[in-house]
Amino acid sequence: MFKGPAVPANQIHDFHSPISPEGLYWVTPVPSQGLTFSADGKTATLQMANVPIIDQPRWPAMDAETTPAFLDFKLVFTAADEPVRYEDAARQYRFEGLKANAQLEAAIRVPSIDFVFKTDPLETSKCDFAVMGSEVNGKYYETTKIGA
């Protein structure tokens, strides 16, 4: 949760995947080797390179112009010990897992404006909320127990 505008007034870039024709927001397919887990399953690493994205600084304006860009990133989730369960039968979703820590490092290129940005190393990033686990929703909600 947060207070204040989702998009800060001093934002100069907004990088994300395009919205799919199906209406899916900012979701991109991951190559099979892009997501790996530690042997104990408590650490997950999502790493991708040259992901085609867009820079849309005036998002969420309807006429916010886009510029093609590319993203390299490494995202590491590390599970903590506190279990969480979020479920809503009316909305047909159930998530079971653990609170987690997540850290991210990324590099972004916008070739048309000769802009390159690289974050500081992974260890320096922070996030406010992270969980990792398993989820079922929609048609799988009634028929699947998590872990099955």
Binding site: E22, L24, L46, K118, F129, N137
Partner: protein, 139 residues
């Protein structure tokens, strides 16, 4: 002569009126045609060679998340964390990333907002009337 002048004026006025109505109709027609052409682009393709018609194989969003016309719901406790509907599998999500970085001109810039979030969804989703295995990331 005066009568001719009056009737010419009436003719001109009628012509202008007619032109005005025609223009308005043309604008309205153009709007309708544009709307029809946009709607046509949403028409499902007619299968050729007796192929089945089961819809697209790409995942689609959580229907009820559209209350704000925006499926990008911020991650937090007790909310739907998947971006994909009819999904079962491994999922992790994080929100509120922030940090520092440097651009190619040496400028130090802050990155991240309260809604800067990432996730992975690895497992099975349902589309085109069948199950598909895939991994997706919300970036």
């Amino acid at each position: 002569m005066a009568r001719d002048h009056v009737s010419r004026l009436e003719l001109d006025r009628r012509r202008w009126l007619k032109l005005g109505i025609t223009s308005a109709a043309a604008v309205s027609l153009r709007g309708t045609l544009l709307a029809q052409s946009e709607a046509q682009a949403c028409a499902p393709p007619i299968p050729q060679n007796h192929e089945p018609s089961n819809g697209g194989t790409c995942p689609y969003p959580i229907p009820w998340l559209d209350k704000n016309g925006n499926h990008n719901q911020a991650a937090m406790p007790d909310v739907e964390l998947s971006s994909i509907y009819h999904f079962k599998g491994k999922l992790a999500r994080c929100n509120g990333f922030h940090g520092m970085g440097t651009d190619n001109k040496g400028n130090r810039l802050a990155w991240g907002t309260p809604t800067t979030d990432y996730s992975y969804m690895a497992g099975e989703y349902w589309a085109a009337r069948q199950a598909h295995k895939a991994v997706f990331a919300h970036t």
